[in-house]
């Protein structure tokens, strides 16, 4: 095995020799008689050294200059440095530690002590570098398995939500559009209304959860769900219960601590609530309605207006926006209306598409 290398930077030959005799059996010793030369050697082969002994005061570039250079080049991440100095000057010591030296040794030094500390520090560094490497590999694996998991999650959610659509005999694109629109509007909420504290990760989860908003419709009988034309009073009351049925289905798989579960549940239950408290099923008012349910609510209304249904022709996008603004299809907060207006051109463009491919 190749001997490992130690670099000694000190302007006094005697001082270098005193370190050299301690280490020359185990290490190859490279010497630099001033800061300038130390920097030159490091730039050429910093990777090869296991330790740098650095004198503080040298002609030309000082020990601190060398450290600053090493920091700027990133050498401190892998090369431990022991500072050698004649006396304790607190401000210089603090500076040296701030720049990342592992230890400071005072002259006159005891060879056995220097040897011990050096072994400890190099072991620590090698161990740390080893751990970092392992961690990096592990992180890579984790990211990959998480990606796989996300893909299969998405697949299952799509499969489940398409069951609902299949039964309602709706075109399969409503749910896809709700998801895309939810993602777009949530992004505006995240950017412009930080008071909701939404993160990018939350936006991604809520967007997925939005696909399940009508899950409860699976429990509505065909005679109501598939009825052409207007529902009568009782039928409409039954239809409204899809919000509750959805939650009942979800409760069978309740995951108390799971964020995603909470979004699915809230969206199923509250996507027909109204900001003025006149929605259903719980007549929640204002910000008691979770922001994710508020977003899915406006998206659901908009898409219902611009889609063709068995009982109605599609509205023009601009007409749909006017109807929402005029409060003909629910009541929304000013913040939600703001985000909807900001997003509407994007929504229009997607509405115009006849076919929606797999979104990225």
């Amino acid at each position: 095995m190749l001997k490992r290398k130690i670099l000694i930077a000190d302007d006094a030959e005697i001082n270098r020799e005193m370190l050299k005799f301690i280490f020359e059996e185990q290490y190859d010793i490279i010497e630099a008689e001033d800061g300038e030369r130390a920097i030159g050697i490091l730039d050429e082969k910093a990777q090869e050294f296991s330790m740098l002994f650095l004198d503080l005061i040298m002609p030309g570039k000082s020990g601190i200059d060398v450290l600053e250079h090493m920091v700027s080049k990133g050498y401190m991440d892998f090369l431990p440095v022991i500072m050698i100095t004649g006396e304790a000057t607190p401000e210089v010591e603090v500076k040296a530690y701030e720049l990342g030296v592992s230890d400071i040794i005072y002259k006159p030094f005891d060879p056995m002590v220097v040897m011990r500390r050096t072994m400890n520090i190099t072991e620590l560094f090698e161990h740390r570098i080893d751990i970092e490497k392992k961690l990096e590999e592990r992180t890579k694996e984790l990211i990959e398995s998480r990606k796989k998991l996300e893909k299969s999650n998405e697949f299952l959610i799509n499969a489940l939500s398409s069951v609902v659509e299949f039964r309602s005999m709706e075109s399969g694109d409503h749910i896809k559009r709700v998801r895309i629109f939810t993602g777009i509007i949530l992004e505006y909420v995240r950017k412009f209304y930080p008071e909701y504290g939404l993160t990018k990760e939350q936006v991604a989860l809520i967007t997925q959860a939005s696909a399940l908003h009508d899950l409860g419709k699976i429990a509505i009988s065909d005679s109501i769900l598939l009825k052409p034309g207007k529902l009568d009073r009782d039928e409409f009351e039954e239809m409204k219960k899809h919000t509750i049925y959805g939650c009942e289905i979800l409760e069978n798989f309740k995951q108390e601590e799971n964020e995603f579960y909470r979004y699915c549940y809230d969206i199923c239950r509250y996507h027909h609530e109204r900001y003025d408290g006149k929605g259903y099923p719980d007549r929640l008012v204002g910000e008691d309605i979770p922001i994710w349910a508020q977003v899915v609510s406006i998206v659901d209304v908009y898409d219902a207006l611009v889609s063709k249904r068995v009982y109605k022709a599609p509205y023009d996008v601009n007409v749909a926006v006017r109807m929402i603004h005029d409060g003909e299809c629910g009541v929304f907060s000013d913040k939600i209306m703001d985000c909807f207006d900001l997003a509407k051109e994007e929504l229009f463009a997607i509405t115009e598409l006849e076919f929606i491919g797999d979104e990225k």
């Binding site: 302007d11 030959e13 005697i14 001082n15 005193m18 005799f21 006159p108």
Partner: protein, 120 residues
């Protein structure tokens, strides 16, 4: 003349030095190297040309070497002149007045080492 006798003659601390360096021959080797060390000559030159930053560095180096070799008698004035030249608290007159003492101890030390090397 033994290394220990030489150390006593030049006011250096042999016990301390052997405690760290373990072997007499190692001390001898380093003492020999001290004759080649240029920091005192450069300190003197820097004082003469009034380059006090350089003088500080050289005094500092000389002091460090003395510490490592346990040259106590030379270490003391080297330490004092280093402090008098330190930039923040520099006192040039004091440094000038200390230089002869450093020179005196330096001469005594090198003379002692020379004598040792000739009498082995």
């Amino acid at each position: 003349m033994t290394t220990k006798e030489c150390y006593e003659k030049i006011g250096a601390n042999y016990d301390e030095a052997i405690g760290r360096m373990m072997k007499d021959e190692r001390i001898l080797k380093f003492a020999g190297m001290f004759l080649r060390d240029t920091s005192f000559a450069e300190l003197k030159a820097a004082m003469e040309s009034e380059n006090y930053d350089e003088a500080f560095r050289m005094a500092h180096t000389l002091k460090g070497v003395c510490q490592n070799l346990s040259f106590t008698a030379l270490y003391e004035p080297a330490q004092e002149i280093t402090e008098s030249l330190r930039e923040k608290t520099r006192d040039v007159e004091l440094a000038k007045s200390l230089l002869p003492k450093v020179a005196e101890e330096y001469e005594r030390t090198t003379a002692g080492i020379n004598e040792l090397l000739q009498n082995i």
